[in-house]
């Protein structure tokens, strides 16, 4: 019995792995593009989950980090002439620094107060991008050419897909390790009780700053990839709705779990695609599915999968 279960589990993992690895060979451009989006939002979800799921700090401003990543990567590549492979991690580093600064209000704020402060952060970033026209192009947006990796131009959807896949695999592996080693556990402790964390010698302030920075890093890397997948960015799209959907993504997937983050991204990108066929109702069905998932699956999709698995 247990053996059969193990085999099924392995079969599912291998099957998903095969599909993911070979997708561009047998799928047309659009599904590959959609899968790339899943990867990008998966990175965002992992980043936000460190902050909200692990460290327990709510953020309604992550569209700001996403925008910072997208614009920094684009501007460093386009205006400063740096190679894409360099500008992407530099954007991540920049967002890490911004995250450390954005963490400062969080040292004193909680719950809804923190939510509004982070929401303010997102608004400020968005308005800055709108207003700083000489740098960002303002409301007209910014177009970017196909990225280059050394001599190779990543011109097709398949190329970008493999780049994103590589980053997602690397990001997931790193996240799994961070989550189960010291920093990850310290963050969980901060979430559970700041007082108890302090008593154990965990510096609450330090780990809040780490959580914000780490979260900013992942989200900015995703933003940089997004910019070069879509090839056009506009400050308009990095709005509050984006931050809110990021948050719903991780709660739907499962707070405080790395696989849940990826599952949430899958749901967030694929659900509206699936409901597109239903006339006039994609919003209605998506909204209803958020409510239904919350009512039926208190620990999100990943928790639900786990429950099914144990019952099977």
């Amino acid at each position: 019995m247990a053996d059969a279960k193990k085999h099924t589990g392995r079969a599912v993992v291998v099957l998903v792995g095969l599909v993911v690895l070979t997708a561009p060979f047998w799928m047309s451009g659009y599904p590959v593009y959609v899968l790339s989006l899943v990867g990008i939002f998966g990175l965002v979800a992992i980043g936000l989950n460190f902050l909200t799921g692990y460290a327990g700090q709510i953020s309604l401003g992550h569209a700001g980090f996403f925008a910072i990543g997208a614009y920094t990567t684009a501007l460093l590549t386009k205006k400063a002439g740096l190679p894409f492979v360099l500008s992407l991690p530099l954007a991540g580093v920049f967002a890490t620094a911004v995250g450390a600064v954005a963490a400062l209000p969080a040292l004193r704020l909680k719950n809804l107060y923190l939510a509004i402060a982070t929401l303010g952060f997102g608004v400020v970033v968005q308005k800055l991008l709108f207003e700083w026209q000489s740098l960002t192009g303002g409301g007209a947006g910014l177009e970017v050419p196909a990225p280059r990796l050394g001599p190779i131009v990543l011109s097709t959807a398949g190329h970008m897909y493999y780049l994103i896949l590589a980053v997602v695999i690397l990001g997931t592996w790193a996240a799994l390790n961070i989550a189960r080693t010291g920093s990850g556990r310290a963050m969980v402790m901060v979430r559970e009780s700041e007082v108890a964390a302090g008593c154990l010698g965990i510096s609450v302030a330090k780990y809040k700053v780490i959580a914000f920075s780490l979260s900013g890093f992942y989200t900015a890397i995703a933003g940089g990839l997004y910019c070069y997948l879509v090839r056009y960015i506009n400050p308009e799209s990095f709005n509050i709705h984006m931050s809110i959907t990021f948050l719903s993504m991780i709660v739907i997937g499962g707070l405080g779990t790395i696989p849940g983050s990826l599952l949430g991204a899958v749901f967030y990108v694929l659900a509206p695609e699936l409901f597109r066929g239903i006339k006039d109702a994609p919003g209605l069905v998506f909204g209803l599915s958020l409510v239904v998932v919350m009512v039926l699956m208190p620990k999100g999709l990943w928790g639900f999968v786990g429950r099914l698995w144990r019952r099977a």
Binding site: L109, L112, A117, L119, K127, D280, L284, G287, P298
Partner: protein
């Protein structure tokens, strides 16, 4: 003079923020849930009022009264059907459920009434602008401010003096003890959601004649309501009201004197600054917690 008319305009929009903020805080205080669907609930009930006006030959006041009744019933219905089964779950789950509800109501209204802009009649369309000491004041602004003040006074009275209000306060302080005193927690929460729906609905029918009526009209108002509430402090209705008014005025002044489009960002920078100094809002009490 320009300065004073900015202040009056700010007080009017601030009153609207305050009403939404009060709606949010009523629910938040009672059941600990930040209701992100509050804005769309108000939008929906305003549309119902609009629909009644279009379909039946009734006066503005009776249509609005029916719309507010609907708003209160919708509040109770949401609490009973969506929130009640979720009680005891982590707050984040409830937040996402209200966000889902927000999306549902938004697209439902779009399906029923379309996404175009409608014109919602004003009760004071015949009234002449008021002239006070050389200052021209739109009558609707005065009306909004007066309704705001009346609402806060009524709600404070209800919560302080009536049986339902006392039950509500007891339930929000300690559910177990309140239950032992024979208070139905479920009914107290229903009252809070009903009152919240009502307060939001009032903001809806007041903002629709000033701006326009469409499915997006409450989106920004909801965020400003939250922001005003947080600024004032979420644990007193008076604080929320003051926070909303302050937000409206400061936003108007910054928009006019500093930068129209960057004004909003400056407002949020200010809010963040204030919160760093006063983490529970200006009028909020910092709760001390025993470990």
């Amino acid at each position: 003079m320009f300065f004073f008319s900015l202040i009056i305009g700010g007080l009017a929009s601030g009153s609207l923020y305050a009403m939404v903020g009060i709606a949010i805080v009523l629910v938040l205080q009672a059941s600990d849930i930040p209701n992100f669907a509050q804005g769309e609930m108000a939008m929906f009930s305003t549309f119902v009022g609009y629909w009644i006006l279009q379909q039946y030959n009734v006066s503005w006041w009776s249509a609005v009264l029916l719309s507010l009744l609907f708003a209160a019933v919708l509040g109770v219905a949401v609490q009973q059907l969506v929130i009640r089964p979720l009680l005891g779950r982590p707050t984040m789950n409830l937040v996402i459920a209200t966000l889902g509800l927000n999306i549902v109501l938004h697209s439902l209204a779009g399906m029923i009434w379309g996404n175009e802009t409608h014109i919602f009649p004003s009760p004071l369309s015949d009234a002449l602008p008021l002239n006070v000491a050389g200052l021209t004041i739109p009558p609707m602004n005065v009306f909004i401010i007066l309704v705001g003040v009346a609402l806060i006074l009524c709600l404070t009275f209800i919560i302080r003096k009536t049986r339902a209000g006392i039950a509500l306060r007891a339930a929000s302080q300690n559910q177990a003890v309140a239950r032992l005193m024979g208070i139905s927690i479920n009914r107290a929460f229903a009252v809070a959601w009903g009152l919240g729906g009502l307060a939001g609905g009032i903001a809806g029918v007041l903002v629709a004649p000033v701006l326009f009526l469409d499915t997006n009209m409450m989106g920004l108002l909801l965020i400003k309501g939250f922001a005003g509430g947080v600024l004032g402090g979420l644990n007193s209705l008076g604080g929320v009201f003051a926070g909303g008014l302050f937000l409206g005025v400061i936003e108007n002044l910054m928009g006019a004197y500093i930068s129209g489009s960057f004004g909003e960002a400056l407002v949020f920078l200010l809010i963040i600054g204030v919160l760093i100094v006063a983490p529970e809002g200006v009028f909020g009490r910092v709760r001390t917690r025993k470990v």
